[in-house]
């Protein structure tokens, strides 16, 4: 059996605070949360104050540093709503415009697409079934970022046609179709953009395409190798707003 618990002093202080503010019912976790918050807050402030005081080439922290630290934190994390006169002014302006008329029979009334969350968060690129040049060659699906070893062989900037590239990947054998991710060359307008820094890892545009859509057995994998331009491509490509799909490949 443990000795009777002695409540640490800080916790006693918290209890007293709660009592002073008139809060009588609370879960015991609340004390811990308050303590944690206090420690973290005070530590942050003091650290900031230390930074400020060293910046001012003072040897010790003094009240001014602490005050500055508190103020900066307040503006950052503990913002308060705008002042009343500002709100009144904004409200006055907004309330002056008359209510817009409602067009009848417009279907679901939603804001313009870019303000909605209805856009698909994936992108289907048209599959270029380029069988000719690389008939029979089955390439292996690309690997993820880990596959940096892949030869960045074809620089193919700007060629809209899909090119098949074999990657020397770690996996030698083609795997089953199901659940694979295939990349398809983007027939997009590239170029222009940036040949900025070529990222070391070829980022691949991976898209989940239902196997049923892919008729042929020849699966052509093309790298949008143009890794550097891939990011540019994406932005040029279809205007739908979506996030870049993650670059991984699951095998």
């Amino acid at each position: 059996m443990a000795a009777p618990k002695v409540v640490p002093k800080d916790a006693q202080v918290m209890t007293q605070i709660l009592k002073d503010m008139g809060i009588t019912e609370y879960e015991p976790r609340v004390i811990n949360q308050m303590l944690e918050f206090t420690y973290r807050y005070v530590t942050t402030i003091i650290e900031d104050a230390k930074i400020y005081s060293t910046h001012a080439k003072k040897s010790n922290i003094d009240a001014d540093d602490v005050r500055l630290a508190i103020q900066c934190r307040m503006d950052q994390s503990f913002t308060s709503p705008p002042p009343r006169d500002f709100l009144l002014e904004v409200a006055r302006q907004k309330n002056q415009t008359p209510l817009p008329l409602i067009k009848p029979y417009t279907g679901p009334r939603l804001p313009p697409d870019r303000y909605c969350l209805t856009a698909p968060n994936y992108r289907l690129k048209s599959l270029q079934k380029k069988v000719s040049s690389s008939a029979g060659r089955i390439s292996v699906p690309r690997l993820s970022v880990g596959a940096m070893s892949s030869r960045p062989s074809t620089p193919t900037l700007g060629t809209p046609v899909s090119q098949s590239v074999t990657l020397t990947t770690k996996v030698g054998t083609p795997v089953s179709l199901s659940g694979q991710r295939f990349t398809v060359q983007i027939p997009s307008s590239q170029s222009s953009t940036v040949k900025s820094a070529m990222p070391s890892t070829p980022t691949v545009q991976n898209v989940l395409i239902k196997p049923s859509l892919i008729g042929s057995k020849n699966i052509l994998i093309t790298t949008s190798m143009v890794s550097s331009q891939s990011s540019a491509n994406e932005s040029n490509a279809l205007k739908r707003k979506h996030e870049d799909e993650d670059d991984y490949d699951t095998l």
Binding site: I70, R84, P100, R109
Partner: protein
């Protein structure tokens, strides 16, 4: 700017041995702690400078010089002359008033009114944010000057607190006032006691702002016990506010400062007060009162304590009479005429004998009775409303059919209550809503999910995917059924998307959409056909506490921590209207049945009614003693019921702008209020695990709103809560969060089990 000159009698208090110079300084002198910094051009509202009563002469001298310089700068040569002359005398007599009379140079081109040679000092007062304070003579305490240099918005506001009077004397002033008010006639005392609380708070805040911590604490300790009990929460917050820096982050208190506390006092009492305070020794209080309080005078009998108590309690005092005078169109919009085809299903009950059914279409008679426009109803086109679609018409027909089967409620026939208890919610249930036809219920949770259940045996289905949709036969009769995907049928659906607890939920009247608002400052629109999120409306930057769809769809309102309520339309990504005016968070927002007005209840304990057309606040209702958590409009649109943390339900007449009833009974926060479908019964649910039914017909029957009442706002509330209470029903330790009357007047309740 009206200047108020008051002569302050001096000599009553003997100065301390040290030499002190009291100089009335003109306003606009940049605050400077005692040091000479004369010549600095006056800046925007700035606290006045008070000479530091330092022991050293040099400081005084410097201050004098500074003042002289300033006067010269402002071209107040005469005053300067007089001051210069007098300054020579100052060091001799202890109780001379510094600067003589000429010191009062008014910024902004007011002519100073020198009363030269007078031993009394002048007090000049400029209305508005710039307060000129004069130092009363003979203040023994060292005067600290408030620095008004900084100009950010907050400080501009804070600087409205210039120094008024000697801080050490504040307790003296306050006790003096107390003594006076205790000595007046009984009939006046209740009214004049209203002054205590705002005066106390303002004086305390001023002490804090001017950094007189010790004095502030002493002042607080001495007098906070005298205040009314319903201000306890405010006082508690104040007790934690001891430094000037604390005030900066507290928007509510800042607003309290800048807005005038409204008091309604009868003319007789007011005369009494005024006469007393204008006596010389009470000038300070008079100045403070003038600065921070707005006294709305009415002619008539002074109010009794009970009357005052019922109306007071809000953070801004009561409502001025003009605030409640605007015309409000509280009537209902006319129902459109719809042809009601008789169909077979409806006739089942009646035609058991198999008589041939008459298939004559019936005209909807509800709308056609009153051809004339109801004078209290808004025009149909006052605000644009969406047109009635076919599905809406069908819905209305269903509604009417159900209405015929509705149970007529009354004191003799109380509704049955069906209570939905959310189990295993672990105190995370934060919002509930039912659809109008009571087929779906949605719950918002503290883990940021929204869950929709089907109350009827019919399951929830999503719409088929695009591929499948192209395969169905679009011409079939039941195409609406066919678009639903059977594979996705389930009892409940989860909606994920928010990143904070969901505090408000609202179904659209056509059951296609669901709105939810959350602590993550967004309001999300969900489709109930695909059960996905369609739009996130960003506008509030702070938690949003409540949201509601308009009774006609398309519009919705939201109210949050930033103290404004916003009106949105589903197809605009920015709000259409902003209703700003509350002093604290907007905790509850409700549409009027005619969709032209919005009621908002707030943590500043007032309820405001806003006009959707132009965003104006047309009504202010005060009387609650705690933040308001629920509002309900009566179905006829004339009355509003509100419930707050004080456990009372208050009834308001919208047309006249008066409180007409008070329902006491609950012992804890009232979280749910709903009128029955025809307005006969008001149901209220509260944290004390009970649902209470009140007789609404009787409560609204007894109104005698004659001209006098409307003019003065005197109300005498009948103490009839007991008679109005029709029933009180306990749940099994489940606080009631939501109430809903079905179309047939069955009462549904919802809450989370909380053992």
């Amino acid at each position: 700017a009206s200047k108020k000159m008051a002569a302050v009698q001096d000599g009553s208090i003997k100065p301390e041995p040290e030499n002190e110079i009291k100089i009335e300084t003109a306003n606009e002198v940049p605050g400077n702690p005692g040091d000479a910094s004369g010549g600095v051009p006056p800046t925007a509202p700035v606290a006045t400078e008070k000479p530091a009563a330092a022991a050293t002469d040099s400081t005084e001298r410097q201050t004098l010089l500074a003042v002289l310089q300033f006067l010269r700068k402002s071209k107040l040569f005469e005053s300067e002359e007089i001051l210069r002359r007098e300054a020579g005398l100052l060091n001799e007599t202890g109780d001379s008033q510094g600067a003589g009379a000429g010191g009062a140079g008014l910024g902004g081109g007011g002519g100073a009114d020198p009363e030269s040679g007078d031993a009394s000092s002048l007090l000049s007062r400029v209305a508005g944010a710039v307060a000129v304070a004069e130092s009363p003579n003979a203040t023994p305490a060292p005067a600290k000057v408030t620095g008004g240099e900084d100009q950010p918005d907050v400080n501009v506001v804070l600087a409205a607190y210039s120094q008024q009077g000697d801080p050490v004397l504040y307790p003296v002033y306050y006790s003096g006032l107390k003594r006076f008010i205790d000595s007046v006639l009984d009939c006046h005392r209740a009214e004049l006691s209203q002054v205590f609380y705002p005066l106390f708070v303002h004086m305390y805040l001023e002490l804090v702002y001017n950094q007189y911590e010790k004095e502030a604490k002493a002042f607080f300790d001495k007098f906070h016990g005298d205040q009314e009990c319903y201000y306890k929460d405010d006082l508690r917050i104040l007790s934690g506010l001891t430094k000037k820096e604390h005030m900066k982050g507290n928007e509510t208190l800042l607003d309290f400062r800048t807005s005038k506390f409204v008091l309604r006092i009868s003319r007789d009492s007011y005369q009494l007060l005024k006469r007393h305070l204008q006596e010389r020794q009470n000038n300070q209080i008079w100045n403070i009162i003038q600065e921070h309080l707005y006294i709305d005078i009415f002619d008539g009998m002074p109010r009794s304590k009970g009357q005052i108590d019922s109306m007071s309690g809000s953070l801004a005092g009561e409502a001025k009479r003009e605030a409640n005078k605007a015309k409000v169109f509280y009537g209902l919009l006319k129902e459109p005429e719809i042809e009601v085809p008789l169909d077979d299903e409806d006739e089942e009950a009646e035609n058991e004998e198999g008589k041939p059914k008459k298939k004559k279409p019936k005209k909807d008679s509800t709308g056609s009775k009153s051809k004339k426009q109801d004078p209290n109803a808004p025009q149909q086109s006052r605000i644009p409303l969406p047109e009635l679609k076919d599905s809406d018409k069908l819905d209305k027909i269903m509604n009417m059919k159900e209405a015929t089967k509705r149970v007529r409620l009354g004191p003799e026939s109380l509704p049955s209550i069906c209570f939905y208890t959310f189990l295993n919610a672990y105190q995370g249930l934060t919002a509930v809503d039912f659809t109008d036809d009571s087929s779906l219920v949605a719950g918002g949770f503290a883990d940021s999910t929204v869950r929709v259940w089907s109350v009827t045996p019919k399951k929830l289905r999503g719409v088929k995917t695009a591929g499948d949709l192209s395969l169905i036969d679009k011409d079939s009769d039941d195409v609406l059924e066919r678009i639903m995907d059977e594979k996705t049928a389930s009892e409940s659906k989860n909606l994920y998307g928010h990143s904070g607890p969901v505090y408000g939920i609202s179904f659209s009247p056509d059951r296609n959409y669901l709105l939810s608002c959350s602590e993550d400052a967004t309001v999300r629109l969900w489709s109930l056909q695909t059960f996905t999120c369609l739009v996130g409306y960003k506008g509030h930057n702070y938690p949003v506490w409540d949201t509601q769809f308009s009774p006609y769809g398309y519009y919705f309102i939201s109210g949050g921590h930033d103290r404004v309520a916003r009106l949105w339309a589903t197809d605009h990504y920015q709000p259409l209207r902003m209703f700003s005016g509350h002093l604290a968070d907007v905790t509850c927002t409700r549409f009027h049945p005619n969709s032209n007005y919005v009621a908002t209840g707030s943590a500043d304990r007032t309820i405001r009614l806003w006009d959707v057309l132009n965003g104006n606040c047309v009504r202010i209702f005060t009387g609650h003693k705690g933040p308001i958590h629920c509002l309900a409009f009566s179905p006829n649109g004339k009355f509003l019921a509100s419930g707050a943390t004080d456990g009372r339900v208050l009834l308001w007449d919208i047309g006249h702008g008066l409180m007409i009833g008070e329902l006491k009974g609950h012992t804890d926060t009232v979280y749910a209020l709903k009128f029955s479908r025809d307005g006969e019964i008001l149901a209220s649910g509260s944290m004390d695990n009970t649902v209470r039914l009140w007789d609404a017909v009787k409560a609204f029957d007894d109104i005698e709103t004659d001209d006098f009442t409307a003019a003065t706002g005197h109300i005498t509330l009948p103490e009839n809560s007991q008679e109005l209470l029709l029933g009180s029903y306990m749940t099994k330790s489940t606080p009631v969060i939501h109430l809903h009357f079905t179309r047939r007047n069955l009462l549904l309740g919802a809450g989370a089990y909380n053992p």
